[in-house]
């Protein structure tokens, strides 16, 4: 049996980019894991985007994160109960999603992956609607245009090109809306993502690429995708890249606002890398104990996005017991509502197979639908006849 110990030659000295200094700050953080506000010169250009948040605003962000987490937990348990076939949990990524989601304007357009439940929440998509595809009753259960929130995209990276094209359209229309495209650290390797960087740069499209680097692509750590920090990818395409503490909702909000403003004002694309952690399994089908230890998770637990904002709210007296208690009640109600909505979700009509294959119809679909209907009717007849 041949056993080799390494996959590839290791660089004798560290790789090429050491000469190009990283932009400052290397990680935008406005709230420490302990819940302290960070203010310094390096952060100032971002800080101004959250400087005038009121206590109510801050409580709102907290509420968003708590409800998102509660919804996510409910979905996970619905999967365990067999109500859903699968669930992709966002646990740990609440700040990245709520921060960036709350930075968007109503007329902006969002292109998510399959994990952006927090962003969907910010966009006003009914959480229950997100569950249809995981239950298997549809492949996308909301109208993308009602909330300018595209359907979940499962094939990795594809949506970044759609986002870029949409942004090109905004530019053509002379509108000042912007687009935000979500993708993961794993997705950064897909050719489509690279092509979306090229197109958006060449056409100076108003799009923000928001990469949630949650350290893992199923079982593969980010080192299997890149040997330098991902935010640096952007500079070689001619637009800026910024790494933000993805567990810091204020920093995510600020940096995304800044990037969206760049887009609106004709400065083109930006890459934001939200440095965060996937606290749970990749999906309910995954078993992370096969590929990662518990220490890593524990280290990230100390950086929990919800806890740190709570500490800040409390230390600043921005929220009292009543607020937290009420939110607890609201959470439970949300969980209940979602649970009931899912259980009540009807199975689709069998003929739905043939619906919406084409907008203008197709002779073969018509033919097959008719055959199928006749075939099904033959059983009904048979049963009826008994």
């Amino acid at each position: 049996m041949t056993v080799e110990s390494t996959a590839a030659r290791k660089p004798r000295r560290s790789a090429g980019t050491k000469k190009s200094p990283s932009p400052k700050p290397e990680l935008v953080q406005l709230l420490t894991p302990e819940g302290k506000r960070v203010k310094n010169a390096e952060n100032a250009m971002y800080d101004k985007y959250v400087a005038d948040l009121t206590p109510e605003d801050l409580r709102g962000l907290y509420r968003d994160m708590v409800l998102t987490r509660r919804f996510d937990a409910e979905a996970t348990s619905l999967q365990r109960q067999g109500e859903l076939g699968l669930w992709a949990s966002l646990l740990g990524q609440e700040a990245a999603q709520i921060g960036s989601g709350r930075a968007t304007r109503e007329d902006d357009y969002v292109f998510p992956t399959y994990r952006e439940h927090g962003v969907a929440w910010c966009r006003g998509v009914d959480p229950a609607n997100l569950l249809g595809m995981f239950r298997g009753v549809n492949n996308g259960g909301w109208d993308p245009n009602s909330n300018n929130f595209q359907l979940y995209t499962i094939v990795i990276g594809s949506q970044t090109l759609h986002a870029t094209g949409y942004a090109m359209g905004i530019a053509k229309d002379g509108a000042d809306s912007a687009v935000i495209a979500y993708f993961g650290d794993g997705a950064s390797s897909q050719g489509d993502v690279a092509e979306s960087f090229t197109f958006s740069a060449v056409y100076n499209a108003p799009v923000v690429f928001f990469c949630q680097n949650n350290q893992w692509a199923i079982s593969e750590p980010t080192e299997k995708q890149t040997r330098v920090p991902l935010y640096q990818r952007a500079q070689g395409y001619g637009f800026p890249g910024v790494r933000v503490d993805g567990n810091d909702v204020l920093a995510c909000l600020a940096v995304t606002k800044w990037a969206l403003e760049r887009a609106r004002s004709g400065e083109g694309p930006t890459l934001v890398e939200a440095y965060t952690y996937r606290m749970g399994a990749h999906t309910t089908s995954d078993d992370p104990t096969r590929y990662r230890g518990d220490e890593e998770r524990q280290a990230w637990e100390a950086k929990d996005p919800i806890l740190r904002l709570r500490q800040y709210l409390e230390s600043e007296n921005h929220a009292d017991e009543g607020f937290f208690a009420e939110l607890e009640t609201e959470s439970e109600a949300l969980g209940r509502r979602v649970r009931e909505a899912v259980r009540a979700m009807p199975d689709p009509d069998h003929l739905a197979i043939f619906e919406n294959v084409y907008a203008d119809g197709h002779a073969l679909v018509d033919e097959e639908r008719a055959q199928f209907a006749a075939y099904q009717a033959s059983f009904a007849d048979a049963e009826g006849g008994k």
């Binding site: 090109l161 090109m168 092509e195 090229t198």
Partner: protein
């Protein structure tokens, strides 16, 4: 007002008309701007409609189709050019997984009126990847419509209809017929996009083809007529959907069918036509449906393409074989 026009020019005029009629129509692709495309199909359009409507894209087919999808989501109607048949595959994922399925995925909420133009087929003595006929690889995929005109008039009208369609249409242009001239009545009202046409009536056997092979089949019918055989020729025009009704009606009359396409026979359009027509016309057929097409081999170097492609003799041979049953 009927005018003699080369097929490439007919498409050019059709694109021009669409760009004029609807500000949401865009033309995108590699070299479609100043150059007017390598076949000049988009000649002059950028000059007249500007770089905002006729867009030279980066050299990345997945990016072209992927951004066209995004533009369609924003309300545009992009007409995308893939420079040659063999270069569509980098965009294959975006076409079959996104373009084809987003309407269904969104339960009908999203429409993607994108036309993907692909000059296809051989016979022009080109180097590798410039002569392929990949239509079957798209027809198997639900959500796409596949058409291919055989003459200038159809090229003009079918392009109008493809752009107006709310479904994605893969528009296969028979590149070896680009320079063939024929009358185009730009004021005629065309029949439905997906309807086949009987381009020559006959009684002994039906020849069914589309795109570049229609002209060949007409020549075959001429040659057969000299030998006293009356062949009916169908121009299928659409590969998805296939107009089985028209084929069936013809075969019920002639009782024999030969399907001709440039694409390889194995898993090609002829297979689907043969299978379905045999089912529909089982008691009418006097002979099995025969197929004439490319071989199960990569498209060969130019000096061999005449042997590889269906030609007059090979189709006549199939006709003879079918008639011999």
């Amino acid at each position: 007002m009927a005018e003699k026009m080369a097929l490439a020019k007919a498409i050019n005029e059709s694109l021009r008309k669409a760009l004029e009629a609807d500000p949401k129509v865009l033309v995108m692709g590699e070299d479609v701007g100043k150059l007017g495309g390598v076949f000049r199909v988009t000649d002059g359009l950028q000059k007249d409609f500007g770089e905002g409507r006729v867009i030279d894209t980066p050299l990345a087919e997945s990016g072209i189709v992927g951004t066209a999808i995004g533009l369609a989501l924003r309300g545009y109607r992009p007409v995308v050019e893939i420079q040659f048949d063999g270069f569509v595959f980098p965009a294959y994922d975006q076409i079959v997984t996104q373009l084809a399925k987003m309407h269904a995925r969104s339960l009908g909420k999203v429409k993607l009126p994108v036309v993907v133009r692909i000059p296809y087929g051989g016979g022009i003595g080109a180097v590798e990847h410039h002569s392929e006929s990949p239509e079957a690889l798209f027809a198997h995929v639900a959500g796409l419509k596949i058409v291919s005109p055989s003459n200038s008039s159809d090229a003009y009208w079918m392009m109008q209809q493809a752009i107006q369609s709310d479904d994605p249409v893969i528009f296969f242009e028979p590149k070896r017929r680009y320079w063939d001239k024929a009358e185009v009545n730009t004021e005629a009202i065309p029949g439905p996009l997906h309807k086949a046409q009987v381009v020559r009536a006959g009684t002994d056997l039906t020849l069914a083809a589309y795109g570049p092979m229609v002209k060949l089949c007409q020549e075959v019918a001429d040659a057969a007529a000299e030998e006293g055989r009356s062949l009916e020729v169908l121009d299928l025009r659409s590969v998805s959907p296939l107009d089985f009704d028209t084929i069936q009606a013809s075969v019920e009359k002639t009782r024999r069918l030969v399907v001709v396409h440039e694409a390889p026979v194995f898993f090609g359009s002829g297979a689907e036509i043969a299978a379905r027509i045999t089912e529909r016309c089982f008691y009418h057929l006097e002979a099995p449906v025969l197929r004439v097409g490319g071989y199960h081999a990569p498209y060969p170097p130019a000096r061999l393409e005449e042997e590889y492609l269906p030609g007059l003799d090979r189709v006549l041979d199939a006709v003879d074989r079918a008639l011999a049953y």
